[in-house]
Symmetry: C4
Subunit: 234 residues, 4 copies
């Protein structure tokens, strides 16, 4: 591990900030321009989110692994990728980065820096959707980790592009993003009271995927290290 922890933590902070700024900012822009056409707004929101994931994982993958997601960080630690002692720093950076990204998005669009969301997302099918969404996300990450040519960046970007549409919750699939979205009373928001169930379902989905891939790919624990420091280096 030849990149120091502070550098990696700052990379996680920056990456998650841009991810959340994109999710929320593109939601606001799309909502404003779409004149109530929700399908069109979600299409723009999807395109922006999928694209920024490709860009961010390409950009920060070589520094911190570009987890940008506490579920990914914990599953990577579980598979002996990231040392457990470094996990809290990663998660804290992701949560604070996400909050900062929300604030930055709000400032760009002349909104209050922070405002609690009133967007209810509490129905059981939505919680179930978060389980499915995160299960699939972690499957894609573990599956792509065997490949070269920046497969994780394209795999994750493509997966989330699809998951925005095939899940009833528009696939948050990320506790740091979920927490950040609860302080945004916009298109992408979620009521604080609905956050715990989403986060719980996300960890459960990620854990189930990791257990299945432990069996599917016996070499997973060897690969896990490479998720942290990506294997695309020449």
């Amino acid at each position: 591990m030849n990149i120091s922890l502070p550098r990696r933590v700052v990379a996680e902070f920056l990456g998650t900030a841009f991810l959340v700024a994109t999710v929320i900012g593109s939601g606001v822009m799309a909502d404003r321009l779409a004149n109530g056409n929700v399908a069109l707004a979600l299409l723009a929101n999807t395109l922006a989110t999928g694209a920024i994931l490709v860009a961010l994982i390409l950009a920060f993958g070589q520094i911190s692994g570009a987890h940008l997601n506490p579920v990914v960080t914990l599953m990577d630690a579980l598979e002996k990728g990231l040392p457990w002692t470094e996990t809290p720093y990663y998660v804290l950076a992701q949560v604070l980065g996400g909050m900062s990204g929300a604030v930055i998005a709000h400032l760009m669009f002349s909104l209050p820096a922070i405002s609690l969301s009133h967007h209810a997302r509490s129905a059981p099918p939505q919680v179930f959707s978060e389980f499915v969404a995160t299960f699939g996300l972690v499957c894609v990450i573990w599956g792509c980790s065997r490949l070269r040519c920046n497969a994780v960046a394209f795999g994750v970007g493509a997966y989330i592009t699809a998951a925005y549409w095939f899940t009833a919750s528009t696939s948050f699939a990320n506790p740091a993003v979920t927490i950040a979205r609860c302080v945004s009373d916009t298109f992408a928001g979620i009521r604080p009271v609905d956050v715990p169930w989403f986060v719980f379902a996300q960890f459960l989905g990620g854990f189930a995927a990791t257990m299945i891939f432990r069996w599917l790919m016996p070499s997973l624990q060897v690969r896990a290290k490479e998720v942290l420091l990506s294997h695309d280096l020449e």
Copy 2:
């Protein structure tokens, strides 16, 4: 073949489940949000399906070959890729995976777990479209199998993105997906009575493409093995 059959069969099951969950789930979401604008709904459905194919083939390609399609499995066996004895397990996993994906999509969107489709797709031009669609799909798979850098994932994802629009049937091109879509009375559904013709045309198209590529690429049978266990490993 260093990955055990049960592992590969589970990968086919999971991959086809996510493929069908995306096709049906994104169809429901798009249909609900698009307010009757079918072009917009199909655009979202297309984006989600093309993207999930990229993600799934990147993720499961190294495990099972990520056929996710009985036509591909049979053509691969025909070219001496997958052993014939393993073919039934692959096909069964794909069909059951597809059905499970339909059920999961329905549960996420609070619909009955299973409901027979009333969406008629019986016109001869649609059956002809399935022949063309699957012919093209298998051409793309055989053609890309010579390339590195995960070309099959991008080739197939891009092809299906186009085929949703250039065929009159929106390009099912996959018997497992076709069967799963007949138990979904939604945007993506197909009446059970129309399934046999679709499936017949799909196999015919795949077979024609394989015969042409046998001549176009004399090394095809060597490559066929690599479709099963992809050649992108470092």
Copy 3:
């Protein structure tokens, strides 16, 4: 050159047929579903065309170079890539393939096999647009020919996606496609009388780009061979 001419010619035929079937077929589908919203129809037409180019160049690039375009074939011959003696076979295959693709698209959508277009595209700015469009296309092809990882497929697919929107002619940029589109009285059609100017501007644009790249990349003639038989082989 270890792939026989007949094989390469058939690959050009098949590839151009699928390209034109996509351009015309997706135009018909988009036109039918978009209820007069031309921006939405063109968006779907663009997505399908850009995507099929990625798929076809990945699939047929290793066989024939996947020119799918008489301008590319002639410029490749000019730079001593394809032997001049083989050029007529390539061009003929492209033109016949394009016509076949038009017929196939019409049959899939229950239209007359052939019908002359009434879509006027004769304004000088449109002809100028074809010059610009093909100039850019050939720049992208020569520029990408130095790269690995299937850069030509992604470069061309991305370029045409953009060119559909930034040119006033929606960027035909291909004589074989232009001829095929004049026998299609649909969204993608062009009046036969307007074809000669389009084709003339296309060749002029391709020639100008080739001359500039001859100076920009002194090694161009070495690379030209690799455009024919792509250099992505392992």
Copy 4:
């Protein structure tokens, strides 16, 4: 540095011309076809811009580094990539290329060659947005510069696709493009009076990103050379 300065300067001119022609041309086309649906128009504008960046960076990256952006050129010089003495030629080529691209777009769409924009973009949140947009762009460029497989092309294309939506200014992030857009009284235009603040914020954002990456990636100055002449050569 084995490609002569004049060649590299011409590549920067051509690349920036096509970039601006796309930004403005697709804006005009989208605006004309979208019937006042701004979300749909911006979606088309976004798709075209993101796609042309992929194509242009793939095509011109091997010749000049495909900066196409004075901020990138200056930051590359700051990190000892491009020699300072060559910087003015690059910047001049980018600005003149951008202006030429604007003129070409106008001619293709039968508009006056040049017309000053009346599109006000002066609100502080928009200026702040330009800081954020360019900060992110330069982060992505430095981050991707460690990767193979044309990561910069895909990273930048994906980033700008997202940034059109997550910033309140639709992410110009490029002084040459900003100047060119002020002589275009169209969808993509910007009032001349608003240009200085945009350009100032862009340089500031690029500088901040470079300072952070100097610390994040201690090998940055080694990499900077490779941004100029890309490292994807076989």
